[in-house]
Symmetry: C3
Subunit: 274 residues, 3 copies
């Protein structure tokens, strides 16, 4: 079976329409696969894509698939939040910031509450929220081409997706702050050493090895995996929701700050390499 | 001095009786040593052994020894819970599940509350609860022959010994879930990189190096070590007890599930290599 | 601009007086630099230096600098608490213990509450509180000459600076206890693998590489960094203050114990290499 969420209203069934979709959702062999699918924009995430992903996760949480997997189409995993979410808002930054905080909070809550094993297959560079979200995944497999970059300070912003909590917990404050405050970009190997990545594979064998493994995992007793995940998540679910709320409130204020507006305008104009 | 807990009623003092004991407890040079001692069964842990270990730890917590050390006799450290605890129960699975949850809870609480430094000398493969318990130890020294395997999902079960809390805390959720949900088996080196093992030694020098070190540690000021451990443990003792209770309740329900009963029956019949 | 706190009353402005100061505080290019400056005593920290550091941090928290950096003059980063704080106290150990607990608590609270990015440039061996404090830093860069040693048990003492909480959180209990209970000394590389150190540099390029990086970081949007740090710290600030209080109470009692007094007297007399 295969269902697809459209990023631009109702999509047709033909190949051309498919290319215009922000995410692709397929399900096969017990695995729901959600693909960031804007390769021409390095899989940057639009408002519509956040909402399509929320919907896809809600569907996956109750259907008969066992594991849900995120990956990216093309060279990038995802370049993170599409900054034109702000610059193209008809009501200006204030409206964009209000909408952004609401969408972000629901988006991250959907990951916090997702009841089945959640795996990231990081095929290439990951930036911003596509990195911070990984702290809410159950396994993160990375190609050695992948990099992990959270340049929040450079953009006048602040951490999201509970990374202000999950990153220090996972890697200690001295390594988390270098990413979250100073915007240090990590190689796949460094991200592995810091606990963000479960295992790194050579690009040449990445897809084959990872999908072979995932197909095996998808055959394990599904209730055991779901119940074990629930047990693990229960230890901090309340905390994660509170952190998410605090981060969204902080980020909303950041988006309206001079530091952030200047940084975003400068970024959109100059388009520097992240 | 040397005291021994019998796994099969009252043991005699002669060598033959000793071999039939599930655990051996000796104390020398300030060190209480508790040895899993069923090498013919890969040191699988019976109901009686759980109770003998509880007793041994209660004794060690108040006697004049300084450090307590666990190790295994023969090739294995321990293959974990003896599944015949379930299949041989006279009252069937329901009685076994009830008894199991009560014994397990008291067993794990004894580790949570143990007041002196607790060290594991992991001489070979460790499976299931012998792995998850390590999250409650103060040092874990491993031979490079050791492996670490928690195939809960494969057996239709769920994590215990507070590993649903200690493992994500120690290694991050992406590495913890691969062990606890997907049953990935780790080498000693991998377990070291994930924080589960303090140090890995070549098999050839393992025993000599580790015991030399432990003898030195046993001569440090005992009150300082006890008080420092109390300080560390106090930060999460309440949480650990709550997690243990939740895990035991969950596991009791798992033991009565179809997934688990099928998996255990299949395991006992087919005896696959773990 | 440059301000200097004196460790011996009011210091003059000439070079000679400067050499007698316990810490040096300079600020340039957005960076406040606090240098442990008793190289002849391996930068051991006197009561006066604790108070000078508290003052320097309070100043740095409200001035216009962006990042605060600690480092050591000479071969050592710092050998930790100056044990003559105890042996030279006019009112004996009881008075020294009372004063010590009060000073320590305020000192550590100042680090917990410091609102800007805090970086350690660990130029050489670090001992005791100069190590445990690192758990409250946002980045720790170490020369490969650096070592990390917390011989609390050897001295009849117990962990401070929230290390009973930050170390197990960062590195897992099995690695934290080896440092905090057994006084294992770590190389820079080992400290990196355990999450205590952000990055290790060869001694020959250490200062150049680290300061180049820090100057870049000091040019990032300051409000974003401050707000991101506040977000991270907020998750555990209350816990850190509670842990600090508990550790100081415990340590005060330790300082009056026979184990500790014997160990300190023996240390001061024999001056063994730490």
């Amino acid at each position: 079976s295969s269902s697809e969420a459209s990023s631009q209203g109702k999509g047709g069934a033909d190949g051309k329409a498919q290319e215009s979709k922000g995410i692709l959702v397929t399900s096969e062999g017990g695995i729901t696969k959600i693909t960031f699918n804007r390769p021409s924009k390095k899989n940057a995430i639009t408002f519509q894509m956040y909402q399509d992903i929320i919907l896809a996760l809600k569907n996956a949480s109750t259907d008969d698939t066992v594991i849900t997997v995120f990956t990216g189409a093309g060279d990038y995993y995802s370049s993170g939040n599409d900054l034109t979410n702000f610059t193209s808002a008809s009501g200006g930054m204030e409206e964009a910031a209000n909408k952004g905080a609401i969408v972000l909070r629901e988006f991250v809550n959907t990951f916090i509450d997702f009841p089945k094993p959640l795996v990231a297959v990081v095929n290439g560079p990951a930036v911003g929220i596509s990195v911070t979200l990984l702290g809410l995944f159950d396994a993160v497999y990375a190609s050695d081409r992948a990099t992990f970059h959270t340049p929040f300070s450079h953009l006048g912003q602040s951490p999201e997706a509970c990374s202000s909590y999950t990153f220090p917990k996972m890697m200690g404050s001295a390594k988390a702050a270098e990413m979250l405050l100073f915007g240090k970009k990590l190689t796949a190997r460094e991200a592995w050493a810091q606990g963000l990545v479960t295992e790194v594979f050579p690009e040449s064998t990445f897809e084959t090895e990872v999908w072979t493994r995932l197909k095996t995992y998808a055959k394990l007793p599904p209730n055991s995996m779901r119940i074990s995940k629930e047990l693990i998540r229960k230890n901090e679910k309340e905390k994660l929701h509170a952190v998410n709320e605090e981060e969204c409130t902080t980020l909303r204020a950041r988006w309206l700050s001079e530091e952030c507006i200047n940084a975003i305008m400068s970024f959109v104009t100059r388009k520097p390499k992240l």
